[in-house]
Symmetry: D2
Amino acid sequence: MPLTPDQSDEIAHLRSQTVPTRRATVPALEEILYEAFPALDHGFVRVIDYMGDDAAVVQAARVSYGRGTRKVSEDAGLIRYLMRHWHSTPFEMCEIKFHVKLPIFIARQWIRHRTANVNEYSARYSILDKEFYIPASENLSAQSTLNRQGRGEVLEGAEAARVLDLLREDSERAYRGYAEMLNQDEDGAQADPSRSGLARELARMNLSLNYYTQWYWKVDLHNLMHFLRLRADSHAQYEIRVYADIMIDIMNRWVPSTAEAFREYRLGAASLSATGLAIVRRMLAGETVTQPDSGLSKREWRELMEQLGRPADV
Amino acid sequence: MPLTPDQSDEIAHLRSQTVPTRRATVPALEEILYEAFPALDHGFVRVIDYMGDDAAVVQAARVSYGRGTRKVSEDAGLIRYLMRHWHSTPFEMCEIKFHVKLPIFIARQWIRHRTANVNEYSARYSILDKEFYIPASENLSAQSTLNRQGRGEVLEGAEAARVLDLLREDSERAYRGYAEMLNQDEDGAQADPSRSGLARELARMNLSLNYYTQWYWKVDLHNLMHFLRLRADSHAQYEIRVYADIMIDIMNRWVPSTAEAFREYRLGAASLSATGLAIVRRMLAGETVTQPDSGLSKREWRELMEQLGRPADV
Amino acid sequence: MPLTPDQSDEIAHLRSQTVPTRRATVPALEEILYEAFPALDHGFVRVIDYMGDDAAVVQAARVSYGRGTRKVSEDAGLIRYLMRHWHSTPFEMCEIKFHVKLPIFIARQWIRHRTANVNEYSARYSILDKEFYIPASENLSAQSTLNRQGRGEVLEGAEAARVLDLLREDSERAYRGYAEMLNQDEDGAQADPSRSGLARELARMNLSLNYYTQWYWKVDLHNLMHFLRLRADSHAQYEIRVYADIMIDIMNRWVPSTAEAFREYRLGAASLSATGLAIVRRMLAGETVTQPDSGLSKREWRELMEQLGRPADV
Amino acid sequence: MPLTPDQSDEIAHLRSQTVPTRRATVPALEEILYEAFPALDHGFVRVIDYMGDDAAVVQAARVSYGRGTRKVSEDAGLIRYLMRHWHSTPFEMCEIKFHVKLPIFIARQWIRHRTANVNEYSARYSILDKEFYIPASENLSAQSTLNRQGRGEVLEGAEAARVLDLLREDSERAYRGYAEMLNQDEDGAQADPSRSGLARELARMNLSLNYYTQWYWKVDLHNLMHFLRLRADSHAQYEIRVYADIMIDIMNRWVPSTAEAFREYRLGAASLSATGLAIVRRMLAGETVTQPDSGLSKREWRELMEQLGRPADV
């Protein structure tokens, strides 16, 4: 369970209060505001705040004085048009702020998306809790033999057991070293009055990359979709996809028309290369095209045939 | 008057409706939400939406589960600390969205601040109204003779009258040419059925830079303060300062503690160069320092003495 | 002719000098360094400086100590892979700096690409030359009747002549007003010693949007390609496409492997929506699909059929 | 020693070759191009490429056709002016690319500077070397008792020895676990043919934050100075200051006039708050000001007196 009772109380307190506002408001998102959606073994995603809704996209695209059209269907049509033609600025007019708890090695991938605002819990200033990520056994995958940057079969039997033991033992030991260097006992009190304790900014380096950190992460809707398109993709590492999938559910609540256009023109869409497009045209004209006369490498040919739902024959 | 009756009605309609929210809400800002604050002769600034408040800065700095402390004085102290030590990321956690109407030559200065989101009214797609900026006579300044990028005395008499006539006549004429090329009469209808009308994206180039445009401009609090520090400065062009001053008033309503720290550590602060600091130390130690033995140029010496409230003696 | 003799001399002087460097250097780009490529009637594009080459993309992708592989074919393969899989950061490792002279209404479109560095000629500080854009007659298009943001047929006969006259007369007149307000004669000298002259920062607003400005524009290769994909597109305004086309030629010289991958996976590529992809799959499986049972609007159906080289039948 | 013989050979090879270029070139920087400057126990900083020089700042500020003035003193004067008045865009016209090897916990601080381009060595794709940071004994500091985010006295005797032992042992053990999970022996070969080996993207999480990573980091001169002002500051963590100090030396070689202005107006400068400025004015007018009647807190008073070289008396 990712939250302490105190934290749950603080959240419940926030959720119990409403005040009137004149701003664009989304009831389906208000419903889950501040709630922690669990991710991995100790992580979570919480929505802390948001600005705008589907109508705000329309309103900005039109630079209008009021809230845009009142018909949802007209707004949805314009939103589809904007998405199809890569008009990104109207989507930048909505903003969302998350509180995320995640393992450090995932935080290092995530932060590469620069067009966002971040405040991370500081281990220079505070002491990290003893919380580390251990994969569930069904996610304990071998190195892929085909793709240097991918996962293969799930490990089993003795090898799986040994890996889990190693991860747990080394993580436990790293924290024992951390606490001892800090001169802290289990309750956070000074352990040995004759010692000074190493500076926090140094002691933290003994922790391993599966330790959890947390941050506030604020992003506009356009950049959120860019993040989700890359991180909800099947090539993304499983541990970040878990977070991306939760955020897609949140987006469905927040901006349903935009989310639908996003599925149609980004998530479910296909990009054909110039050569790939020429092949499709030839096939539709009745020609039988094979890999050797396609102009594509075997790998690209397989990828294209998979997209088109055809046998690859190579 | 910058608004049409229709626009005023749309705004009044928006202002008449409130809904409940669980989000951080600022009553003093809600009070003026959507209202148009006039700027120059036809422009305005309106707040369309906002995210966060002073407490949200504190909450992000602490990566807290609840809304941070409940004592305003503690929050204000932390905010002052963050501002003093250039911790910018907590201020990025608040966001505000403006609707601004402004002359094109000012829009061209404004857009140089890149860390913001913008949707501008498109003259490729729509037809611009006949609204152009004419300075009030007290702002009709001569070129400065000291500073190539500055204003001198206010023009008077015949020269002032001639300038105002020229500005008005040329602006009127530019619009006549624009409308004629578009083949539009005064009501926006086709003027001459035998003509096609020039493409909007071309016709717009006949308008002059004092014509008004408008945009939605969304920015986080840190970057807003950066904008205001530069554009509310006495070296900024008067016409953009008018907008910056309105936005400072809005900021005072929105985040009063942050606004106070901003005045203390940015707007009212002084930056001393290494040499300037050494001079102050020498003066405080009782030494009489003069420009020739100061290590500063005459210009920098005058600037320093002015900051220190001392006679320049050069 | 866009350059004065003095400017041409300065450029020739720069081009006459070479010095030794250990940096990655591209002879085909050195050949044209500093040269002005004409654009529209008075504009140009010049390359002022560059950093990196195709091999620098590979070197960064591998975080290597040396200059990466020596075989051009291996580098090209990796570059194609990076482009296909949207790995953008290695392309950010190359940088190019342009000097561009362009009409203000085009500069206003261009500057919306925020991820670049810009220094523009300041009309607060200096006086603009009398240079304005007048379209060639073959580019004098009517407003499109199908697309609010597009051009239709070319204007002809009396209407074309009238438009050109209006553009020229109004531009001339705007400059006369500008010079008179500045109190400058044709040689830039004070015209009337009894007058002060309006501040430059005010006088400039009398000029129209077809006047030329100029800037230094510096951008990394990834963001350059993003700019070119949008601005060399057939939906972009003709006047900005002229610049984009010149820059694509420059890119071909600078980074030929990247430029080839860019044509294959971006410029010549097609994006199919989820529904569009399903239609292609059905057609390839032998099904006859028509617009009404396609799930697409008529407009999207036409766009898809055009991409696929099929008759639209609607 | 941070480099292998192969890496040193690659660097020597690069350094041995020069080609002619027409670009702005800085001999003092060419002299050290590609060289590795050691940082901490296994890290380094290398300059891989650069664009522009002091004259390029001037050239951009003037949007000039040639290379600006030829007199270094005039250029230096303009550079000082630009720095003093916070004109940042001309400094954005120079760019530098570094190859940096650094501990992961420092990389996590560093990456918070978002306005830069980064390519990091991927532990999803490749296997990290067994290289971790152990502080030299003179940098093994206790937690500060005054400042939660700072260091106090250097640890000594048994406590220091114990901390160093813990860091070394836990780092060694973390790598043993990493290699065993990967099923790799010391030469990188498969250790046990009956096992699959855990995916690299998972195994990496067993490593601790003192392990070294490396990246290419490219930044413009303005944002480099912003980074250096914060990270060469006495409040920055020692381990990142080591890198910042090396980069300041590099900057001195690259753009000596800009570096001088940077020391004068940024590094050695002082920012006085509005209240602080008022106090200095009172003191210069002969008044004796004490903390209680200063309007400053004790902490701010001490900071101000230290800046001014006066006793704090509180």
